[in-house]
């Protein structure tokens, strides 16, 4: 479903992503872990076509993001970091806009919008300007936008950042709910989230893959059996080297 092949990106002298390769299949929820600046967000920006890679590519359901950008982007739902939206619009207007851009019209657009609204619990704020909404609701508007066209691949950059425990629970339930038929990548700092929703986790550090396995298998690498300890070992060891 999603193949990342030797993806590379430099910013000046800094190498943000250094030849990352990764393959994620249907039904997998991949936790994308790494310290700040490890290249998680840069990788997601390249996979979604926002940034052009310096080398390598990513294929979404067989469509190359570099050479077949539109076809690839049609199959992705993307929640960028910080869940940006158009503040002056209401969630209803915003989701209608997304539906139109995604090629949905008339009844199909309305149906897709209502489904996304129901799944993310936006009914109460549907006609209030997005800029007046709380951080939690804004994040959910971003999620609604990402799942609206029922994409095969979902890429979520810190989907639960800034949410309260109840909202986190709701978002995780939503992800588990739709996971079976999709390929999902979640970047996060919250390691408990990985254990709660991910079927697989990778840790990247300075643009390279340093660990890949089920959350349980990764956690077992530390004497304590805790994922945080593995995370600290792998990433700080690299930084010290």
């Amino acid at each position: 479903m999603l193949e990342i092949e030797n993806l590379t990106k430099h910013f000046g002298a800094v190498t943000a992503v250094a030849g990352l390769s990764l393959s994620v299949g249907q039904g997998e929820v991949l936790g994308f872990l790494g310290p700040n600046g490890a290249g998680k967000t840069t990788t997601m920006k390249m996979v979604t076509g926002f940034l052009a890679p310096d080398g390598g590519t990513a294929r979404i359901c067989g469509h190359d993001i570099v050479s077949d950008t539109r076809a690839a982007q049609m199959r992705i739902g993307y929640l960028p970091e910080g869940a940006p939206a158009y503040g002056e619009m209401t969630p209803r207007e915003f989701l209608n806009f997304i539906a139109r851009v995604r090629g949905l019209h008339g009844a199909a657009a309305g149906l897709a919008r209502d489904m996304a609204v129901a799944r993310t619990g936006l009914e109460a704020v549907i006609d209030r300007p997005i800029e007046n909404l709380s951080k939690g609701f804004r994040r959910r508007v971003g999620l609604a936008q990402a799942i609206l066209h029922d994409p095969e691949v979902l890429i979520l950059d810190e989907p639960t950042d800034g949410l309260d425990p109840n909202q986190k629970h709701a978002v995780r339930a939503l992800i588990r709910d739709i996971a079976a038929k999709k390929t999902i990548i979640i970047s996060t700092h919250v390691l408990e989230e990985v254990e709660a929703v991910c079927s697989r986790a990778v840790i990247i550090d300075r643009g390279r893959l340093v660990a890949d396995g089920t959350p349980a298998a990764l956690a077992a690498r530390a004497a304590s059996g805790k994922l945080d300890d593995v995370f600290r070992q792998l990433t700080s060891a690299e930084a010290a080297a």
Binding site: G49, F50, L51, R70, Q73, P84, A85, Y86, R100, V101
Partner: protein
């Protein structure tokens, strides 16, 4: 592209921008025409005094309309959303530009009472007035294309505005005697003529005289295309980081 156009056009009206702009636009048009241009004292039934001030008003008002087109998206991060949706960059560029242009044409159309007034007072050459309106709309488009292109290069609306005003000013006065005198002493005649042929004033004045010459149309459309093309290039350049 239609979805982008509709969203962008509606966004002018979602905030007080539209009403503030329309009021200032119409008020300034009135002040310049009646007080500075002494519309009633000229004793002739035409709108020369009215159209003569358009380039100078547009110089400030069009960059104000265009400055937010891209800078705002960059500041809020929504640029990441719009560029990862399955629409080609050129469609987004065109949709945004056309929305701003449509808004400017709407503002221009709302000056119709002065056309009615001059017809009530005398019998003007309505063909010349119609041509002047066409010329004014084209010139507004050229100012907006410049403003949109510069807006794409920054995330700061104030910078976008100031630089756009400067560039628009250069294009406006390129044919003025003051500028040409600087070159006339030493530069070869073809160069002086080339510089003067870049002038908005020269082309607008030609159309406002009542003659819609193909050369003037080609000039404005080429200028708009050129800046929109540069706009696409700037966005693509941003993608490669």
């Amino acid at each position: 592209m239609i979805a982008v156009f509709r969203r962008e056009f509606a966004s002018y009206f979602a905030t007080p921008i539209a009403f503030v702009f329309l009021i200032i636009f119409l008020f300034a048009m009135g002040v310049f025409t009646f007080y500075v241009g002494h519309f009633f004292d000229t004793g002739t039934a035409d709108l020369m005094q009215f159209f003569a001030f358009h380039p100078w008003l547009y110089l400030f008002l069009m960059p104000a309309l265009a400055m937010r087109l891209w800078a705002e998206e960059k500041r809020s991060g929504s640029i990441e959303l719009i560029l990862t949706l399955p629409i080609p960059v050129w469609e987004t560029v065109l949709g945004k530009f056309l929305a701003a242009w449509a808004f400017a044409v709407l503002a221009l159309a709302l000056t119709f009472p002065i056309w009615i007034t001059v017809n009530y007072l005398g019998s003007p050459d309505n063909g010349v007035i119609a041509a002047s309106y066409v010329g004014s709309a084209l010139m507004a488009g050229a100012y907006l294309a410049i403003g949109a292109c510069i807006s794409a290069a920054t995330s700061n609306q104030v910078i976008a505005f100031v630089i756009a005003v400067v560039v628009c000013f250069l294009f406006t006065v390129a044919g003025a005697p003051l500028v040409l005198e600087i070159f006339q002493g030493w530069a070869p005649l073809p160069l002086v003529e080339t510089i003067s042929s870049f002038s908005f004033l020269a082309h607008f004045t030609a159309i406002a005289a009542g003659v819609i010459d193909l050369r003037d149309l080609v000039y404005f459309f080429s200028l708009i295309s050129l800046f929109l093309f540069a706009n696409v290039l700037i966005i693509d350049l941003g993608k490669s980081g």
